[in-house]
Symmetry: C2
Subunit: 368 residues, 2 copies
C-alpha cells in the first residue's frame, strides 16, 4: 500500500469511524486536508482536531514498525480488502490492523461468543459447533477471551477451518496472555484483528467497541452459554441492531449460564440445538446479505433454482469429480480465494458440493 | 339432577360432541326426539342413529351405578357447572364423568404435561413448578400418566392446591394402575374426569381425545420435558388450536427429553424458566379469557387500574386483615367457590392478596 501514515493518524483520533463520513464514497483522508472550521462543522471536537493535526510521531512509528513485520497488514476503509459486511455497519472502523490473512475477513463467517466461565459441557458444545461449522466452510469469529471464545477458536482450528479473533487492544498486546499460543494459531489459520493502534491496553470500555466488529464481520452471532450479565449479550444486541441473525443455544433452567441465552430466545433469537440448525438458517441469509452487499461471490439465487450462475458453473467444472483444495480451485478459475470459499459454502448448503477431511471439496451428484 | 339416562345415551354415541350442535343454545337432548331423517341430515351415520335409538341398558345401568356412589357426578353440556373454558373449544364433550369436585373444573387452571420417561431433574422440575403454581391458587390439570403427569399432580397436592386429572378411559378403570393411590388423592383435592362412559378401556386412540380436554380446561399448557415423538406435543398443538397459551421449559441440547420443548419454542411457545414466568404471562391471559367467557368471576380490568369492581371490594372486605380460607370466604360473601378462587388468584397476581401456608389468604397493603 501507499504511505500508511495518514491512515494511522486517523486510527488515533479517538472515536472516529466511517459513520462520521456522512456520505457514501467520501474519502476519510480528505479530513486531513480540511480547515479546523470545516472539521468543527462536521462535529470534530478540539481533541479530535488536535489528534488529526499533531499525531504523536513515536506512536505512528510503533504502528509502522509493527506493520513492517511479516504477516502484518493494514486494511483501510474503501479498499478492496475491506470486509463488505463490516462496511455495512453504521460505525465501521476506518482501519483494521491485521495479523494473518486479510482475505479471511471477507469470508462468510459466524460469530460465536459466550461466557468467560462456562460449564465444561458449554465449552465442549462451543468446540463441537465450531469444529463442525468451520469444517463445513464457515469462518468462526470471536474475541479470543477465556471460556467460550477460546473454545470456539479451538474448535474451528480442529475442524481445519478459518477463524478470526477481534481484540479489544492493540495487536502488540495479546490479551488474555494465556492465549498467546492460541493467538499464533489463529493468525496462521485466519486473522487477529483490531481497530486499535499499537500500545492500546485492553481497557474495559474497548470491549463493546470490539464486540461491534465481531458481530459486524459476521452474518450472524451464536451465543453458546451466557449469564444474564454477560458481555455476550451486548454482542448479540449489536448483531440484532446491525440487522444480523442472532442464534442462542438453550440449556437447563438449573444452569445459570443458560439464562442469557434464554433471554435472547425470548427476545427473538433463533433457538439452535445443532450446527445443522445454524446451516439451515444461514443458506437464505448468506444469499440475502451477499445480494445486498455486492460481494465478489456471485448471487446464488440461480443455484437453488438449479439454473447455475455462470461463475458457479465455472467453479463446478474446475472442481470436476476429484477432490480439490481451495488453493487449487483459485489457480484453476482465477477467482479470488474468498469468492471461491463463499461459492463453495453456498454450493455445499445446496447439496451440490461436499467437504472432505483435509479441507478438500468434491462434487455431489444432483439429488443426493 | 334429573334422569341422567338421556345424557348417558348421548355419551355412548361414538364421536358425538358439542360441535355437532351447529348453533348456540341448542339442546343436545333434542336429538333424542328427532326423526332418523332429521338426524341423517345433521350428519348422523347409521351406527350413531342406532346408538341413539337403542342404547345398551346394561351399559347405562353401569354408568348409573357408578354415579350413585359418593363423590361421583355427571356434568352436562349447558349446565351451570359445565366448565366455561372447555365449553369454548370446538369439539367440547357433551358430558363429563367426575369423581371429586365438579366445581374444580371451573377453577383457573394450567395444564402440565410431558414425557412418561422424564429425567430425574425433569420430574423434580414438574413437581416444583406444580407445587409453586398450585400453592399460589392455580389448579394443575394433567393426565395421570407416568412421569411428568404424575409429578405435576403430586406437586399440586404438596402445594396444598387443586388438581384435575383427565383420563383416557372410563372412571371405573384407573389407568395406569400404579396410580390408584394418586387418583384417590386427586379426587379428594380436585377431580378425576373423563368423557368416556364406564367400561371404556384406555385405548391408544382415546388419548388425543383426552388431551383436548386437558388443554381445553386450561388457560394454558406447560410442557415440562418431551421427546420429539411425545404425545405432549399433541396436547400443546391442541392448546394452540384452541387459542390457549403454550409454555415450554428449555433444557440442555444434550438431553433428548428437551427436544420436544425446543421444537415448541421454535414454533412460538413461550419459554419459561420459573413458575413466576408462567404467572407473569397468566395475569393478562386470565383476564382476557374471563372477559370473553362470561365466567362467574367478574372481569378484573378494574383491579389493575386500582378501581375495584364491586365484587372484588366485597371479597376484600370479607377477607379483612386476618388470614381466611376459601370456604370461609364463600360463607361470608355468598359467591361460588370457583368465583372466589378466580378472584383471589387475580388479586394475588395484582399483589393485593397473598396466600399463606395451609391455603389461607390474607390482604396485602397496597404498594407492597
Amino acid at each position: 500500500m501507499n504511505d500508511p501514515k495518514p491512515w494511522l493518524t486517523l486510527a488515533r483520533v479517538p472515536g472516529l469511524h466511517a459513520g462520521h463520513l456522512a456520505g457514501a464514497g467520501r474519502d476519510p483522508l480528505a479530513w486531513l486536508e480540511e480547515s479546523d472550521g470545516a472539521l468543527a462543522q462536521q462535529g470534530f471536537g478540539a481533541a479530535a482536531i488536535s489528534a488529526l493535526r499533531h499525531p504523536d510521531p513515536r506512536a505512528l512509528d510503533s504502528d509502522e514498525a509493527w506493520l513492517a513485520e511479516p504477516g502484518h497488514s493494514l486494511v483501510t476503509w474503501g479498499s478492496a480488502d475491506y470486509p463488505p459486511l463490516l462496511a455495512a455497519i453504521p460505525d465501521a472502523p476506518l482501519v483494521l490492523f491485521v495479523d494473518g490473512s486479510a482475505a479471511a475477513l471477507s469470508l462468510p463467517q459466524l460469530a460465536m461468543v459466550g461466557s468467560r466461565n462456562p460449564t465444561q459441557l458449554g465449552r465442549e458444545t462451543a468446540e463441537q459447533f465450531a469444529r463442525h461449522l468451520a469444517g463445513a466452510g464457515l469462518a468462526i469469529t470471536s474475541g479470543l477471551a477465556l471460556g467460550i471464545d477460546a473454545a470456539s477458536h479451538r474448535g474451528a482450528l480442529q475442524g481445519g477451518g478459518w477463524t478470526v479473533a477481534v481484540l479489544g487492544c492493540g495487536l502488540d498486546t495479546v490479551y488474555p496472555r494465556e492465549h498467546a499460543a492460541l493467538a499464533q494459531a489463529v493468525a496462521a489459520h485466519g486473522a487477529l484483528v483490531s481497530d486499535l493502534p499499537m500500545g492500546t491496553p485492553p481497557l474495559k470500555h474497548h470491549f463493546p467497541r470490539r464486540n461491534r466488529i465481531i458481530s459486524g464481520l459476521s452474518v450472524g452471532t451464536l451465543v453458546v452459554e451466557a449469564a444474564l450479565q454477560s458481555g455476550s449479550l451486548i454482542t448479540a444486541r449489536l448483531a440484532a441492531e446491525q440487522g444480523r441473525e442472532v442464534f442462542a443455544i438453550p440449556g437447563s433452567i438449573h444452569n445459570p449460564m443458560a439464562r442469557g441465552c434464554h433471554r435472547l430466545i425470548r427476545q427473538g433469537a433463533k433457538l439452535v440445538e445443532t450446527a445443522d440448525d445454524v446451516f439451515a438458517e444461514l443458506g437464505a441469509l448468506l444469499r440475502g446479505l451477499r445480494a445486498g452487499m455486492g460481494s465478489e461471490a456471485p448471487d446464488a439465487q440461480g443455484v437453488s433454482g438449479h439454473v447455475l450462475d455462470k461463475d458457479y458453473e465455472i467453479l463446478l467444472d474446475a472442481l470436476g469429480f476429484a477432490p480439490a483444495s481451495i488453493d487449487s480451485l483459485v489457480a484453476r478459475t482465477g477467482f479470488a480465494a474468498d469468492a471461491v470459499a463463499s461459492m463453495l459454502l453456498i454450493l455445499e448448503l445446496d447439496g451440490r458440493v461436499a467437504q472432505q477431511p483435509g479441507g478438500l471439496f468434491c462434487r455431489r451428484l444432483a439429488g443426493k
